[in-house]
């Protein structure tokens, strides 16, 4: 997993609440057995029509957002299924940061484990950024160390993240390796509970 410290990039605003993982990556693409290559299917049913042609009505298809690396959306982002294919698709498409007023629990964890920074801002802050990004090309800088989201002139918002998640993202930890340093404790627990091997 790649560490993330400070990220600057173009914003793509998706002004919808309760964006569920079925929308982020529809089930017909969950049959693959790899982790890579899911970006092409991101928001597939919103981006493409039944013939596989791009839908002009979906703003993500607008060329001006081509290089976007920060996704901002309404509350309860990533609700629904536990599929980690959702963050895999988001990352593979090129997003490194997601901003929303709230995230679904499983999705939030899945992001952190894949080196995507989920940023919780207030409803008002989120709406302000969305409105601006809809009107102009908006670049933001997200500083994980300082826990700040800033743009050139107007925005300077702070956000909360647990220290553990912050360290994981800053260091790009392999969590399994970290847990395995507690191997003796796991064995001791199994002995205590008589979980027989």
């Amino acid at each position: 997993m790649e560490p993330i410290r400070v990220h600057s990039g173009l914003v793509y605003p998706l002004n919808r609440s309760n964006v569920d993982t079925d929308q982020i990556i529809p089930k017909q693409f969950l049959k693959r057995i790899e982790r890579q290559g899911f970006g092409q299917f991101l928001f597939y049913n919103w981006r493409f029509d039944e013939e596989g042609e791009k839908r002009d009505s979906f703003t993500m298809n607008d060329e001006k957002y081509n290089d976007a690396s920060i996704l901002i959306a309404g509350d309860n982002f990533g609700c629904g299924s536990s599929r980690e294919h959702a963050p895999w698709a988001i990352l593979d498409y090129g997003f490194k940061v997601i901003i929303a007023p709230s995230f679904a629990d499983i999705f939030y964890n899945n992001c952190v484990k894949n080196g995507i920074l989920p940023v919780k801002l207030t409803e008002d802050e989120t709406q302000a950024i969305i409105k601006k990004a809809e009107q102009q090309k908006l670049h933001l800088t997200v500083d994980l160390e300082k826990q700040l989201v800033v743009d050139e002139d107007e925005f300077n918002f702070s956000f909360d993240i647990s220290d553990y998640h912050k360290q994981m993202l800053l260091n790009g930890w392999d969590e399994i390796a970290v847990t395995l340093t507690n191997e003796e404790k796991i064995t001791a627990y199994e002995e205590r509970q008589q979980i027989i091997g």
């Binding site: 599929r83 709230s102 629990d105 969590e175």
Partner: protein
């Protein structure tokens, strides 16, 4: 005297392997369920790092999401076939028990865990599937995890988790005749929204919950995730213990009595407190139908589809309007005027024997409307066999239902069971998201009884208006 505790705190404390300030607790996992869709990348991760499965005997795999339900062995989709084959190879390589497509125990992972007695009170249970909350019905702490976490559990049999907040959902009073556990959980989500449970583990309490059967409790706990809660559980009681008696993986004889005493002691103590409580009156719950594209967009069958104009904020108005457009509905339209094309009775929410019996009661001696395609997909091969032993298959087939093999099927339409674009389905599953049952498909969530009634009439109807529904089987 010790501080009174909730069952959630008790299970948590019993499973702490390691604790360190500023870090999530490391919890031991008693049961890890696996299916073909969310596991391949986890096994691949193990292989790449040369890691093993720490406790294959605490791990159990099945195939459910992709499996065909018409003819077991005709899998047209090569990618699906490969995914199932990969699971088989992974289980062989890492020594994990598997109920594959030919195994008599095969079924939806959340149906077979309880059926086999793998699911037990006090256990920590995880699965790479958000409806793992189902197992909470037994007083287990059960929650869905992502594939990275699947890999973590395979390798270490533990999971790092921040202690959750506790939320009591107290259901007072009694459910009326013809009003089901499904209506109850839909009404709770309609009232409190799709994220009131985020960050919490729910415990369902109260008279109406105590009166539910185990299978009804599973329906309720199953949909905890649709309220945002990763886990939802119910303290074990006599209902729980009687359901477990005699199941394959449950101890028997004296060992069972000992286990039962331990299970009883897990129940939330008198006077324990929760971080939050919401209450609902069961007497007021009516049969429910969802009208929109998330499970909180739900109304009693007697009412009308909402009007975007009645929403406060502009983005809320947009959300309602977008849902109406997707669903092909008009503001203020009575929901019971809405005609349907498909009926799906199945999924980990409502595909157990009692669900099928209740639906069969409604349709017995009647015919499915000729414009409706209706199918029943039992949750497991065991459910299918039991239902056939009771002649339910004949009742369904005579009425015009298709009777299928066990699997997830039209709940998420990963196999060939797909609702076509623009068509409308009354479904006993748990998610009415856009495209869930097929690209452009329109899903309305209902109870098995309401789905059966809709199949007969060709549109939604209050099942209580159809005679015979009170016949007890």
């Amino acid at each position: 005297m010790t501080q009174p505790k909730t069952i959630i705190e008790k299970i948590w404390e019993n499973h702490i392997v390691h604790q360190e300030p500023g870090k999530p607790d490391l919890l031991y996992i008693d049961l890890h369920l696996i299916h073909e869709v969310t596991s391949p990348q986890a096994f691949e991760g193990l292989r790449m790092k040369g890691r093993k499965v720490r406790r294959p005997e605490l791990t159990f795999a099945t195939m459910d999401h992709n499996v065909p339900t018409k003819q077991r062995h005709i899998i047209k989709d090569e990618v699906s076939k490969k995914q199932m084959h990969t699971l088989k190879e992974n289980c062989e390589e890492f020594g994990v028990p598997l109920a594959d497509i030919d195994h008599p125990d095969q079924g939806i992972v959340h149906v077979i865990g309880p059926e086999l007695g793998l699911t037990q009170p006090g256990k920590t249970i995880v699965c790479g599937d958000s409806h793992t909350s189902t197992h909470g019905a037994f007083g287990a702490l059960a929650f869905g995890i992502g594939t990275s976490e699947v890999e973590h559990v395979l390798s270490t049999q533990t999971l790092g988790q921040a202690a959750p907040k506790t939320l009591e959902v107290k259901v007072n009073g009694k459910l009326g005749t013809g009003v089901t556990a499904k209506d109850l959980i839909l009404a709770i989500i309609a009232k409190h929204g799709v994220r009131f449970g985020t960050g919490y583990v729910i415990e369902y309490t109260g008279e109406a919950v105590r009166n539910l059967s185990m299978e009804e409790r599973m329906t309720v706990c199953n949909m905890s995730i649709e309220a945002g809660a990763r886990a939802g559980l119910i303290s074990p009681d006599d209902t729980t213990i009687e359901y477990l008696r005699g199941r394959r993986h449950v101890p028997d004889g004296e060992a069972f009595d000992e286990a039962a005493d331990k299970w009883r002691a897990l129940a939330t103590d008198e006077g324990a407190s929760y971080d939050a409580t919401v209450e609902i009156d069961a007497n007021e719950v009516e049969p429910q139908v969802t009208w929109g594209t998330n499970p909180s967009m739900c109304i009693p069958v007697s009412s009308n589809v909402p009007d975007p104009a009645s929403q406060e904020k502009d983005y809320e108005q947009d959300a309602v309007q977008r849902a109406l457009d997707y669903m092909g509905l008009k503001a203020n339209q009575p929901i019971d005027s809405v005609k349907i094309d498909y009926v799906f009775i199945g999924s980990c929410t409502n595909s157990r024997l009692s669900d099928l019996k209740k639906a069969a009661d409604v349709i017995q001696g009647r015919k499915v409307d000729d414009k409706v395609t209706a199918l029943v997909v039992p949750g497991s091969r065991t459910v299918k066999e039991q239902a056939e032993a009771e002649g339910l298959d004949v009742i369904f087939k005579t009425a015009g239902f298709e009777w299928r093999e066990a699997g997830c099927s039209m709940c998420l339409a990963m196999n060939d069971d797909i609702v076509p674009p623009g068509e409308r389905c009354a479904s006993t599953s748990n998610r009415n998201f856009e495209g869930r049952q097929g690209n452009g498909a329109r899903t309305h969530l209902v109870s098995p009884e309401m789905a059966a009634a809709a199949a007969l009439e060709g549109h939604f109807v209050d099942v209580r208006k159809i005679t015979n529904t009170t016949v007890n089987r």
